[in-house]
Amino acid sequence: MIIELGHYALVLALATSLLQAVLPIIGALRNDHALMEVGTVAAKATFLLMALSFSALTYAHVTSDFSVQNVWENSHSQIPLIYKFSGVWGNHEGSMLLWVLILTFFSALVAVFGDNLPETLKANVLAVQAWIAASFSLFILLTSNPFNRLLDAPGEGKDLNPVLQDIGLAIHPPLLYLGYVGFSVCFSFAIAALIEGRIDAAWARWVRPWTLAAWTCLTAGISMGSYWAYYELGWGGWWFWDPVENASFIPWLAGTALLHSALVMEKREALKIWTVLLAIMTFSMSLLGTFLVRSGVLTSVHAFATDPERGVFILVILILFIGGALSLFAFRAAHLKAGGLFAPISREGALVLNNLILTTAAATVLIGTLYPLALEAVTGAKISVGPPFFNMTFGLLMLPLMLAVPFGPLLAWKRGDLLGAGQRLFAAVAVGLVVGSAIYYAHNGGPIMALFGVALGAYMIAGSLTEIFLRSGLGKVTGAVALRRVSGLPRSVFGTALAHIGLGVTLIGIVAVTAFETEHIVEMKPGMTTDAGGYTLRFDGLRNGNGPNYSEESGHFTVSQSGLELAEVWSSKRFYTARQMPTTEAGIRTFGLSQLYVSLGDDMKDGGVVVRIWWKPMILCIWLGTVFMMAGGAVSLSDRRLRVGAPARAKKQKKPVLEPAQ
């Protein structure tokens, strides 16, 4: 009964979404307070119903209720409890339910915290959110219902896809969805502004925190997915330019652009129309990503569902929303008042450059992803656009961007002094060159591009710190004053610096791994040793074991350096009985920021086993950088002046209460 109640709650959530999609917008047109208020209430109700529905499905998974088809197909009575939970969204139907749950959660947040928004804006935003929620609820109910029942309940489930039985995969999809769906709020704000034909001053103040939050989650989701692919797929790669990865990377690039243009808009009321367009494009790219992954157009580990009916349904949603939004933009953009003016060389100008490069990069990745599909659809020819294309085009685009990154925060608003900024960055350039040469020397004879890449990364890190250093006035004023000034800096300054440092750290990791990685493929028998990355690995033998729902064969290795035993590494191959699927569990040993990566291959007839060993110098920098970026996002988000959004209304409080004096 709980399951059927959950099913009914989902249907009822669709019904409330339909009301929320229509009534507030009529209310906004007629200036009818009561009708607009329905939107607020309906948003909260829809979220509660979706939460009820999702809880019911979770209950079914946790209690291994195999009378639910979704549970039978994606769960097993013997898997650890955490995978019973993550199995809820480790499949197409459940993940779509999670998608809508998060969407309605954001609508509810707007409803709860939107008291200080202009009433009509809030009503329109909630209505647009409800259009999306209603479309996807209908999609779930008609083509991917997780509550389908089996009348003759099987006694055991078919198990969760073994590669998904991993802690990283328990967190990766929800984070990614928080990001994807978070951009829906920006989209709704953009559409609401277009419907009203005016952009409030409060608009950017609202859009920016949403963009920041969504962007932070998306960064975390992509980063986690990349690390998961690195340690789980067993061949040591961390980014494959796989179409599905691109599908999440394109919204990230667009979202990064949006983040920066919203900044200009908030501070300077410039770039209004452009920001609206970016908000539309970012969410459109999220929808496109959903379509590519869910329709079965692409085959990958993410494509749980290869059902053309679903693809067509999502395609229709896609066309309606993207097409509708862009048409609306075409009709209404001219009515929006353009914002402030600025000189080409200024903070705004730097951010425009950032936007241009990021959107071009997003378009490049998009073309690289879609071109093979389009070509196959038109001519039937199968081509694959691989990493060389992306590395060339995307890498070249990123180069000027990364050079420019430290300049942005150092330029003044409205009109800036490029030469002055360049002089102030002199120290950073020097640091970059020194670090680059040092790395070059340490790895004697590494490729010249690597020297340049590492230097660029170090330059970005130093350049990002330059701003804080300069604003503290250290050297001109006493240490105490400088400290007071630093602590008085808005948190968004630290956020900016952290995020830019993160970019530099990631770049260093990417360059170091690409240039200095070593790979050994050897056939080893127990007792044999091999060298990798300055360490010696001894293969001690294989051991068989059993997990709750798999059997495994683990190889034991001892790592030593100049005769000294340092560590041991277990690397295993698992076989999941229910799905008859093998997986690899790579043995990874971390030394500082570098890693030794051991993966077991096939057994040989003579008792040996093929072992792949990689030495990955500074690989952790790649993900450490994303942690910096996330921290930057979080710090920036915690800046009260952003979080307040619009100020409290005057009639409630004479003088708006803001952050306490620092």
């Binding site: 009822l12 307070h33 009378s67």
Partner: protein
């Protein structure tokens, strides 16, 4: 019943919550521009703070202040200019009606389409605690116990016939084999094992099955089922006179009303070379001899039958392509092709079969003997 009460309560509660704002007295909406004024005032405050903390120079602060003040003035003018907003008196009836109608209408229509209100929850723990006649649970429970104790013969013994009945013949064969290994030979186990193997190989009586049947006959001499399959095996090997004798032996020892007699007689008739013998001869060794195929084949026209056989041969050929180490399969397909009159295909299959089983081995020799009987010649390149 409780379910529908809850559904009604949920629907009513949601409707009530949505109706609430519609029933309240209409409030005056304010001009949207008034919010802008607040935002600009806030920006001026922020500027003041930044200046106090030394984060912005005096000149810059003055610039910015002038700019924000300009915006503030414009926004204040806009508020004054905006026409006072008229509160709406009435006009919510339609919205109220929509709430009251749409929720139950959409909810019930869609739910009745997609839901299964009568299916109760079935958490695994509850089903395990009280399985009743839940066949799936009985299997799952026995399986779980066997994973923990794989040497429990009684468990395999219980599970094996259940597997066979539910069509999971591969598991059935494994379970019978384990039960035989752990608990020893009984007629039931031997017969079940043989039948699982025969079903698994698509009707072919394999050597393994024949061994089991012979053991069974040693325990229960004259067991008609074992005799039947052994006779079938002879026929499948192409030993037609021996097969005919074996089938006739079954008829002579069976009671006149034995249920298997029609099937046995059919084999006798085909072996004697009656009417469309050629097609029928191939039909039996290929189809499941006890299954529906035979029943269906009886009512078919000769053309249909040939089509059916060709379908079966095709699927067998596919199987052999992926798994060429299937000696019985090669024997069968070579014979089938020659029965169908496809000498070229038969020769081709012979060649491939010999590639998998070289002619100097015992299996290869059997293939060559068969080819000789059928008048085929193996390609010179193979030998």
């Amino acid at each position: 019943m409780l379910f529908w009460i809850l559904v009604a309560t949920l629907t009513a509660a949601v409707a009530a919550v949505l109706l609430l704002p519609l029933l309240r007295a209409a409030a005056t909406a304010e001009a949207p521009q008034s919010h802008d004024v607040e935002v600009y005032r806030d920006q001026l405050e922020e500027l003041k703070r930044d200046e106090k903390n030394g984060l912005i120079s005096g000149d810059d602060a003055n610039f910015a202040r002038a700019e924000v003040a300009r915006r503030l003035l414009a926004a204040t003018d806009a508020v004054k200019a905006a026409a006072p907003v008229q509160p709406l008196k009435r006009g919510n009836r339609l919205a109220q009606l929509a709430v009251v109608l749409i929720l139950p209408a959409v909810g019930l229509c869609l739910y009745l389409q997609t839901g299964n209100p009568d299916v109760p929850d079935a958490p695994l723990a509850a089903r395990l605690a009280n399985p009743g006649d839940d066949m799936n649970i009985l299997i799952a429970r026995a399986e779980q116990q066997l994973v923990a104790k794989p040497e429990d013969g009684a468990g395999w013994d219980v599970l094996a016939p259940i597997y066979y009945r539910s069509g999971r013949v591969e598991e059935a064969a494994v379970a019978f084999r384990n039960a035989l290994r752990l608990l020893g030979d009984t007629p039931v186990r031997l017969g079940g094992y043989a039948e699982s193997l025969i079903a698994l190989s698509g009707g072919l009586v394999t050597n393994e099955a024949r061994d089991a049947l012979q053991k069974l006959l040693a325990i229960v001499p004259g067991d008609p089922r074992a005799q039947f399959y052994l006779a079938l095996a002879l026929k499948q090997e192409g030993k037609m006179p021996e097969a005919l004798a074996a089938f006739e032996q079954i008829v002579s020892t069976s009671p006149a009303d034995a249920p298997w007699l029609p099937l046995v007689n059919e084999h006798i008739a085909s072996l004697k070379g009656d009417t469309p013998a050629a097609a029928q001869q191939a039909a039996t060794p290929l189809g499941n001899p006890t299954g529906d195929d035979i029943a269906a084949a009886k009512d078919m026209t000769a053309g249909d039958r040939t089509a059916m056989i060709e379908g079966m041969v095709g699927s067998l050929a596919e199987k052999l392509k992926t798994d060429p180490k299937n000696f019985e399969g090669w024997m069968r397909i070579i014979r089938s092709y020659s029965v169908l009159g496809r000498k070229d295909k038969a020769a081709d299959a012979l060649k491939q079969g010999l590639a998998a089983f070289p002619a100097d081995g015992s299996e290869g020799k059997q293939l060559l003997v068969l080819a000789g009987e059928l008048g085929l010649k193996a390609g010179g390149g193979v030998e």
